[in-house]
């Protein structure tokens, strides 16, 4: 499977409070969506852009901090198709996968990253992320997470919700 979209690029150690400040915690999806990227330096006013089909490309320890799942769900609400990072913070990574969002690691992004908006392809058959002349290896997901993603998320996997 290939997922292609424009890159939405982040640096290292971007935390959940930057990605989605706690004041946008809500049970109302419109309110949750409006908090996207609101404290990320240089992107404070970009959260309202349409991101339908975009692919997040991030540095080290993306999403460190809170377990608030609104901070992961907002990526889905914003239309993000997949996330690739040098590494993810543990809880944030689980939240993304549990919500059925593809989130994989590619350590090679520490040396080279696409430009914001550049087309990126996540090639799951070859386990590569491609942009421009680059093809960086993706660390394969554990079979458990592949099964969760195939089901459409953990709740569907456990038969709690329909896909």
């Amino acid at each position: 499977m290939n997922l292609t979209g424009p890159a939405l690029v982040f640096g290292d150690e971007i935390n959940t409070d930057e990605l989605h400040p706690s004041r946008f915690y809500s049970l109302d999806d419109v309110r949750v969506r409006s908090g996207f990227l609101r404290a990320v330096e240089g992107k404070e006013d970009q959260g309202q852009r349409p991101f339908e089909g975009a692919i997040v490309v991030a540095g080290r320890t993306f999403g460190i901090g809170s377990s608030r799942e609104t901070g992961a769900r907002v990526f889905r609400l914003a239309g993000i198709r997949a996330l690739v990072a040098v590494s993810f913070a543990r809880i944030f990574h689980r939240n993304l996968l549990n919500l059925g969002l593809l989130a994989v690691t590619a350590p090679g992004l520490a040396t080279v990253k696409p430009a914001d908006g550049e087309l990126v392809t996540v090639d799951l058959a070859a386990n590569l992320v491609r942009f421009g002349p680059h093809a960086l290896p993706i660390e394969p997901l554990d079979p458990h997470w592949r099964a969760v993603l195939d089901a459409g998320g953990l709740a569907a996997y456990l038969g709690i919700e329909e896909r």
């Binding site: 935390n15 320890t61 919700e161």
Partner: protein, 420 residues
């Protein structure tokens, strides 16, 4: 042999036919599921819609700590529905409005060495101070364990953290935690278990120190932090429960660990984490002495009775400048009542503190001490990310209660030795 974390996870493994072949994950059933109003609220509608019930309500410890008492109409409604959910699912209401979930967990008899605790909050790691394996999860994982009874985890690599050396005066558990943050950085322990052993002379790390240390383990990325149980743990459990804890671990061998880290306290002075990152750590005496507007002593990280006492000892009968907002938020009702009973609350109030009711309060940018643009705060909490406590133009220093109190007295970031 295996690490203590692996021993606890293995002891809680359950058969699970849904686990994908070839996976390194295992299914476990935790002893306690810790939750609170903010994160459980995210799954209430999903449980109701599926027409399901919590499989083991007796395993839940559900607090109401984020939105209490509610500061907005929306939060009041969230809280209202949460309390109704707790009641309709047959979960005990005893922990509601009693304080911050993590503090309630360590005050609970189920928190004993060898227990497995899954919490719907990142700082669940704090309960590892008692030799538990305590891990934070998001709401969908917690939804799964509540209604299906299982969590999927893998056994993490573990780092043996040896705390050694005799610490000087005014060096508190928070300084040890900041030393750990400086060592690992924000992501340096990602996915790993920290097994922390107090090897200081005469075991100088108190239970409160250990709680603060285990609390911030998640802020350097750790999955859990297990403080190796010893006589300090045994004394705490005996005082709490009237009986010692039974669980003993088989001692791991060196080769079980991924690596060994030594935190030497002998040359440590009071520290602060500078605005923006809990891992940007510097000596308080060397942090620039920025003028401050607010001091917060509170949160699951730094709102225990020991923190309040530490602040009071530094204040020593003096009053903070009128212009400094000095907010003290005890971590639980038990802490609050102890501070009322022993005169600490009154003494803090006389020093200029606004002593608030127990809650997460200012730490999560919720209420009772948010910061405006350009404001500077010293806080005993665990995160100083941009926008964490309000405005993205505000600046937050993290420090011990002693350093926070000294800073309050001088109206600037200060080392407690300056006012000794």
């Amino acid at each position: 042999m295996t690490t203590r974390t692996a021993q606890v996870l293995t002891a809680h493994a359950v058969a699970e036919s849904r686990l994908a072949p070839g996976s390194v994950y295992m299914a476990v059933a935790p002893d306690v599921i810790l939750g609170h109003d903010a994160t459980i609220a995210l799954l209430i509608g999903r449980v109701r819609k599926a027409g399901l019930r919590i499989a083991h309500p007796e395993r839940c410890l559900f607090a109401a700590d984020h939105f209490v008492p509610a500061a907005t109409e929306e939060r009041a409604s969230i809280l209202h529905d949460y309390v109704r959910f707790v009641e309709e699912q047959g979960v005990s209401t005893a922990a509601l409005y009693q304080g911050i979930s993590h503090q309630l967990m360590v005050e609970d008899r189920r928190c004993v060495p060898g227990a497995l605790i899954a919490g719907a909050d990142s700082h669940t790691t704090m309960a590892g101070a008692l030799g538990t394996v305590a891990i934070g999860f998001g709401s969908t994982d917690i939804l799964g364990v509540l209604v299906r009874g299982v969590l999927f985890v893998r056994i993490p690599e573990a780092v043996h953290v040896r705390v050694v050396g005799r610490r000087g005066p005014h060096v508190s558990g928070k300084d040890v935690a900041l030393l750990m943050m400086r060592h690992f950085g924000e992501g340096g322990a990602t996915y790993r278990a920290l097994e922390i052993e107090d090897q200081t002379p005469s075991r100088s790390l108190t239970m409160a120190d250990r709680m603060t240390l285990a609390n911030m383990a998640v802020d350097c990325g750790a999955k859990n932090a297990l403080v190796v149980p010893d006589e300090v743990t045994a004394a705490y459990v005996t005082a709490r429960d009237g009986a010692p804890a039974p669980f003993a671990f088989a001692p791991p061998v060196a080769s079980d660990y991924h690596s060994v880290v030594e935190l030497d306290l002998s040359h440590v002075t009071p520290l602060v984490a500078r605005p923006g990152s809990p891992a940007d750590v510097a000596p308080a005496s060397d942090a620039g002495g920025e003028r401050i507007d607010q001091v917060v002593i509170g949160s699951c990280c730094g709102g225990r009775l020991e923190d309040l006492h530490e602040a009071l000892a530094v204040l020593a009968g003096r009053r903070v400048p009128d212009r400094v907002r000095f907010v003290v938020t005890p971590a639980s009702r038990q802490v609050y009542e102890a501070a009322l009973a022993d005169g600490t609350a009154l003494a803090l109030s006389r020093a200029g503190a606004m002593v608030t009711v127990p809650s997460c309060g200012a730490c999560g940018g919720i209420d009772k001490g948010l910061l405006g643009a350009g404001e500077v705060c010293v806080s005993t909490s665990n995160r100083n990310f941009r926008g964490r406590m309000g405005s993205i133009e505000a600046r937050i220093y993290l420090a011990s209660a002693a350093t926070a109190a000294a800073s309050a007295l001088l109206g600037r970031v200060a080392d407690p030795r300056e006012v000794a």
